[in-house]
Symmetry: C2
Subunit: 205 residues, 2 copies
DNA sequence: GTCTATAATTTGATAGAC
DNA sequence: GTCTATCAAATTATAGAC
């Protein structure tokens, strides 16, 4: 990491530092001084590259949100069979979050802070994600009798909840279950297979 | 609400106002002026009753955290049979959160901000919650062959995730599924029955 | 206990030298 | 492009009158 810092442009150093500070402290908690220190420069340079705190934050946030959301939609609206689709979603999502564990908390936290602004910025008004295709697919399987009767909306919520929640609630979980970093990570890795398995058991006939 | 404000003591008015502001904006985003305005008093009085912002926040936070956590432990360590225990947990938790929808986001958000400080304050070092009893109970059922083979830790995570996550991710969910307030609330109410049902289907033999 | 006025501090932002 | 020094605004906290 430190090796590469020399090669990084100042702008890249700032963005990396801002990412780190914003994702741990949030927009309100983050201090420009913290970011400058983390980047090994001074505050004035932050304003030289990015006009103000808001602009810097927005750059970081949109960048991160793009990692978090678009994958959901591309998988859910693909042409895969239901079970494979669920499996792929869980796998790819957990993998992504294992690499960026701060991501879900950061994104959800900032969306909560100002839902309209950010949801709009991420998708725009016409570019809404369409889980409807996935919901219809589930509905079709139910009517075909391939899987048990279940509300597609609830099944969708079950899947997303089991996948994402442990990452958001990490401090609660590690404390309650007395887990160290390694144990927690191992459990998350296990969930890649455990969640699809659990769902299949619940809805297969 | 406004009727009672006359009867409320100033301290109660402050706490109610602080609760409202802190739970929506968080510790960093909250302004003492906002709280004073919300309480219908001036800033100086806030400091008269609570030395500083940190003390006021801590009072509110610990009060709220006590609503959120202890119930988990009391239910999980009770003597109920497994299925009833799961059902009771989901019911009571969703009911609690339907009344205080901001609760899970607020508590988890502030714990993420400073895990050590708050986790310690909530339980202390010796007073750790003991989901172990619940985990053992699940393990026993598995070994008896009453339910399918499943890791107790994962089952625990499944239950908690499905129950709490939708409350934390409300803005994401309502936007993605195009739900209005009422529809969202109805779905949450449905989950009281849906989650236990789903779990039973997954683990019953 | 409650208020107004003000101090003290924090922090985002800019000016200007190099 | 980068730095030091400084300003301006926002925000917490206190002094002191009533």
């Amino acid at each position: 990491m430190d090796k590469k810092k020399k090669q990084q442009s100042t702008e890249e150093k700032i963005l990396a530092a801002a990412r780190k500070v914003f994702t741990t402290k949030g927009m309100d908690g983050a201090r420009m001084q913290d970011i400058a220190d983390e980047a090994g420069i001074n505050k004035a340079l932050l304003h030289y590259y990015f006009r103000d705190k808001g602009k810097l934050f927005e750059t970081v946030f949109l960048e991160e949100a793009q990692k978090f959301f678009p994958k959901i939609n591309s998988i859910f609206s693909s042409e895969l069979p239901l079970f494979e689709k669920i499996e792929k979603f869980v796998h790819e999502y957990i993998d992504e979050m294992l690499e960026n564990p701060y991501l879900p908390w950061f994104v959800m936290n900032e969306i909560n802070r100002d839902p309209e602004q950010f949801m709009y910025r991420i998708w725009g008004k016409e570019n809404l994600p369409q889980p409807s295709k996935f919901l219809e697919q589930m509905d079709k399987e139910v009517r075909k009798g391939t899987i048990k009767k279940i509300s597609p909306v609830h099944l969708f919520l079950h899947i997303v909840s089991m996948t994402i929640f442990p990452f958001v609630a990490k401090p609660m979980i590690t404390r309650n279950l007395q887990l160290d970093e390694l144990q927690f990570r191992q459990i998350l890795e296990q969930r890649r297979k455990e969640i699809p398995r659990f769902i299949f058991d619940a809805i297969k006939k």
